[in-house]
Symmetry: C2
């Protein structure tokens, strides 16, 4: 893509009303636009990151047997009354509205109820289970305060998977499979060894739930990590009884700041029973269905990736989620430079390396500033100087090591980065 | 995909409260689920059709320079008050809600206002224009009656592009480019020669708008088509003055039923002026920006494709939008048959032909019924009989011509169908 064809502009200052560092950076770099506190729109650049994160999650959910669906945003009040979750005194962050005829409707904040209800059309026998349905869908939560940018929005994109199993054992097996898939997702996103499966409060359905906490200076949660076992305990359940139960000793644990990047819950049969979703077993007996839910905030991950990897010059995306792999700077407007820049852009694009080409004729300093702020993994400079030295100047966003490389060498370096 | 891994089930009867034929069929075939009147959820099959339609539209919008974005659903009241479109007396199909602090918010029904406002961060000079931004996004409209299934929803998926031009001439040029792109989209979706660019009422901004009407027995609109010129006039503006203006004669026009499948509007500078989006021209003078909007209902097109191409046996998707190209029936559970069916499934899948494989061991009649109802372009049967005859029985959904074909012949037939 050529910068001249992309409508974004960078700016020196974020809006005065934006407190969070992730949103400040993403607004300055032209990835998102603030509509109101906790509500953001995405430009082409921002949407590209969202789509890359979503696709990684999608692939891993499909790999464990997930069926992707898309539930409606408008919610039928009756379903939520059946489970006791309509009342604002029980669930305090609903957005609600009304149909033209006066009927109240909810604006989707989660989808246990409608999905369970929908499955009554498809599930009756033990042969129809187990079943795993997920969606990547916008959620709406009426938070009183929303000051963390993409880390906690009133409107945000989430992957939510729901499992429907015939027994606790079948449920437990999938629960572990999904936990393993989550670790793969964070790994692919670029968080490497920073992720700890973390014991947290289980609510009313089970003793514990599992959070996936990413160690980060951005973190608002406090967790106690066991390095050897690669697990952690959230402060909210950090007490002697729990540590005993888990067979962990205080002296083996280290306190850390972390950000929750996903959670998985056992739901028992609360929702399926309340909404009348059952199955008939091999002996003709009606049985309860055991559910689980498995959430990952897609836009939250974008915010976390932005803030965690940023430096004082701007964003710095891991290759797997960067909108483009290369920011191509054309330094000088001489025919030789313009032709060479056009040529390397065409050749890289044709060999499936995605390039954002700064073809606007801006000053070198402004181009380099944008390259740093926008945070693509590599900056490539074409100039009279680089051409005289035999090629293009290649520099990773994360270091100051520049090298002059010809097309094949550039291609090879970028290919390796993409496979890593 | 194997049927055993897909959670949908077909059924003989649609729900009693569903009046529209497109929704009846899509519910019976397990593509969608009705949440309430005009609000549907999408199963994996339904979502696949939505994604195929979306991708075709996306490619054609990118080809004319569109930048894809994603605007928020929650709407800032101030922006809509600035253009006079907040009041329910002016726009009568808003869904509205409230933030926890009591501030009213809208649930997005269109995006002229927020997009125009967002662009104030990116547009100031003539060098920043023209600019074309689009999104594929869920819209919410509080229709009093919603009885047409996917053809008119309260919650529906839409592609909306907005153009921002420096002059009327620049606007007109893009307007025609987008009209041409729309015709390409309908062509790729499988509507072939059925589409007529149709003069319709222009509202307050221009004398006419353009609708894209598809001739169909499903049609609720009446249009008068000129076969030679491949254009039409909507009944709402069909009078002597308009015909004179367009240089059309009544005797050359034919009355037809049609469905509106897209529309494009000139907006003048109403929204840009009201929200303070201007540009500075080459001479340093502030100028107004001319806008256009260009809509296509994605879920509406899915409903139209479903209903228009259906026959008394069920759905019949054009190859470009079918969730799978082939419905593979395994008739008989003998080892030879099972092995052959597994093998052809693996080989087709590996050669990028998408197959829905009925591996459930159901009776042949039920499998054939599902193949017809689900509407993939081809049915492929593996049975002892077909194997004895030298291969598999291939039949297009749209005819009764069966042929026995070996793998290469099947592959060739399916390859041709996909390129067509």
């Amino acid at each position: 893509m050529k910068r001249s064809q992309l409508f974004i502009k960078t700016r020196k200052e974020a809006p005065a009303d934006e407190e969070s560092r992730n949103a400040q950076l993403l607004i300055r770099a032209g990835y998102i636009h603030k509509e109101m506190a906790g509500v953001y729109s995405y430009t082409t650049l921002g949407l590209a990151v969202i789509n890359k994160i979503s696709q990684i999650i999608r692939e891993e959910m499909n790999a464990i047997g997930g069926n992707e669906v898309q539930m409606s945003t408008l919610q039928n009040k009756d379903l939520w009354q059946a489970t006791g979750r309509w009342d604002d005194a029980v669930v305090d962050n609903w957005f609600k509205s009304k149909l033209a005829n006066g009927t109240e409707v909810g604006i989707g904040l989660s989808h246990e109820e409608p999905l369970t209800n929908m499955l009554k059309s498809y599930v009756s026998s033990y042969k129809d289970l187990p079943l795993y349905a997920y969606q990547i869908q916008t959620k709406f939560r009426n938070e009183l305060r929303a000051k963390s940018g993409l880390l906690r929005g009133r409107e945000f994109l989430m992957k939510d998977l729901y499992s429907f199993s015939r027994s606790q054992a079948e449920h437990d097996e999938f629960y572990e499979k999904c936990a393993a898939a989550y670790l793969k997702i964070y790994d692919r996103l670029g968080f490497g060894g920073l992720v700890y499966r973390t014991f947290a409060s289980g609510g009313i359905f089970s003793k514990f739930s599992d959070e996936f906490q990413i160690l980060s200076h951005v973190g608002e949660d406090t967790i106690f990590v066991h390095e050897g076992k690669k697990i952690a305990v959230n402060r909210e359940v950090y007490n002697d009884e729990v540590l005993d139960h888990l067979g962990l000793k205080k002296e083996d644990l280290r306190e850390e700041k972390a950000v929750e990047a996903g959670n998985i819950f056992s739901l028992g049969s609360k929702y399926s029973d309340a909404l009348g979703l059952h199955f008939t077993d091999e002996h003709g007996q009606q049985q309860s269905i055991i559910m689980g839910c498995y959430g990952i905030g897609v836009s939250r991950l974008m915010g976390l990736l932005a803030e965690h990897f940023a430096d004082d010059k701007g964003l710095s995306w891991p290759a797997a989620v960067a909108p483009y792999q290369v920011y191509l700077c054309r330094v000088g407007e001489e025919d030789q430079v313009v032709n060479a820049a056009n040529e390397v852009y065409d050749k890289l694009t044709k060999s499936d390396v995605s390039v954002l080409y700064d073809d606007r004729g801006e000053r070198p300093g402004d181009q380099f500033g944008d390259a740093d702020l926008l945070g693509m993994p590599y900056r490539l400079i074409v100039s009279e100087k680089s051409l005289a030295a035999g090629g293009y100047e290649l520099k990773p966003r994360t270091s100051n090591d520049t090298q002059i490389a010809d097309f094949d060498a550039v291609s090879e370096a970028l290919g390796k980065s993409l496979q890593a």
